[in-house]
Amino acid sequence: MAAETESKPETQSPSSGIGPGPGAWVGNLRDLVERVVGSAPLKYIVNWSRIYSLWPVHLMTACCGAELGAMMSGRYDPERFGMQAAVGAMRQSDLLIIEGTVTKKMLKRVKVVWEQMPNPKYAIAMGDCACSGGLFHDSYSIINEIEKAIPIDVFVPGCPPRPEALLNAIIKLREKIRREEVYPK
């Protein structure tokens, strides 16, 4: 995606014919920023800020939503992990938790939510139904493999998974984010 926006200023800016126009300079600056931020020590700081402020979209597709609701309350306290319910919903959140069965009717809306979220974004498949169809795997109206529609980072089995299991999943996601690149290709 960085490459596409890089080429646009070059083709649109007026060129006097003597060398590349101002767009190329911007492109080189962007490259420079990516290289500096994407390597240590800034990389660790950027990843640290992403880990400690994961704001979830509470997409309550089915019953597991009740356990997510319980996890967001006082006893399990996700705010100490930096997870706060995103007030602006999709555009200000970076974690999509798919709770429960995704039906064929709901799939389009899940994709719309996923596409509205800005990068970087992560997805957790919560519950047996989101992982593999679960208790309703032989139904005529559900999607068994959600990972074909949305790239999932962590799968949490359970029916429903206990809030502690979900917090464990958040911790594993944080380990994954800590290891990954700041600007993935």
Binding site: T103, K104, K105, D138, S139, Y140, S141
Partner: protein
């Protein structure tokens, strides 16, 4: 408690038999607080209007049952009352036998508005046409559903042992 006129369900069954005679079949009192009867498509509106005047003011639920081996499809209405103290615990079930090809019957939504969403669901799941229903359209299934009505026995899903 088995004397004929001592319980509300026995009283109701007797009143139905007295009022409608042979036009309703199979008026039964199988257990306490349940009366069941079978009506035909032509007499169902009269029976329903009579029941409404008798105090049954809402439908508890409406269901379809598919019997392919006996070659009929049933629609069952369950009725009860909120306003009459003596009928509060009683549930009357009204069963109509229909043919399995193009089943259709008059809708009871004009009499009991609470039957609206139930009839819509039965239309979608069994393919039963309710004549006179204000809005017979899809409710639960996905928008591009092109298969047969799912709750019919012809439509099979994998069976677990």
């Amino acid at each position: 408690m088995t004397a004929a006129s001592s319980s509300p369900e026995q009283d109701l069954a007797a009143a139905i038999r007295a009022q409608f005679g042979n036009t309703v079949e199979d008026v039964k009192v199988d257990r306490k607080d349940r009366v069941s009867l079978v009506v035909s498509k032509d007499t169902m509106m009269d029976v329903a209007a009579w029941l409404q005047r008798a105090g049954f003011d809402h439908t508890v639920t409406v269901s379809g049952v598919d019997h392919p081996w006996e070659n009929h499809l049933d629609v069952v209405y369950f009725l009860s009352s909120y306003s009459r103290e003596d009928l509060k615990g009683l549930v009357v079930s009204l069963k109509i036998h229909l043919s399995r090809e193009n089943p259709s019957l008059p809708s009871l939504t004009p009499i009991w508005e609470s039957a609206n969403f139930f009839e819509r669901e039965t239309f979608e799941m069994f393919g039963v046409n309710f004549q006179g229903h204000p809005n017979l359209s899809k409710l639960l299934l996905q928008d591009n559903w092109d298969g047969p009505p799912p709750l019919r026995k012809d439509f099979k899903i994998p069976e677990m042992a």
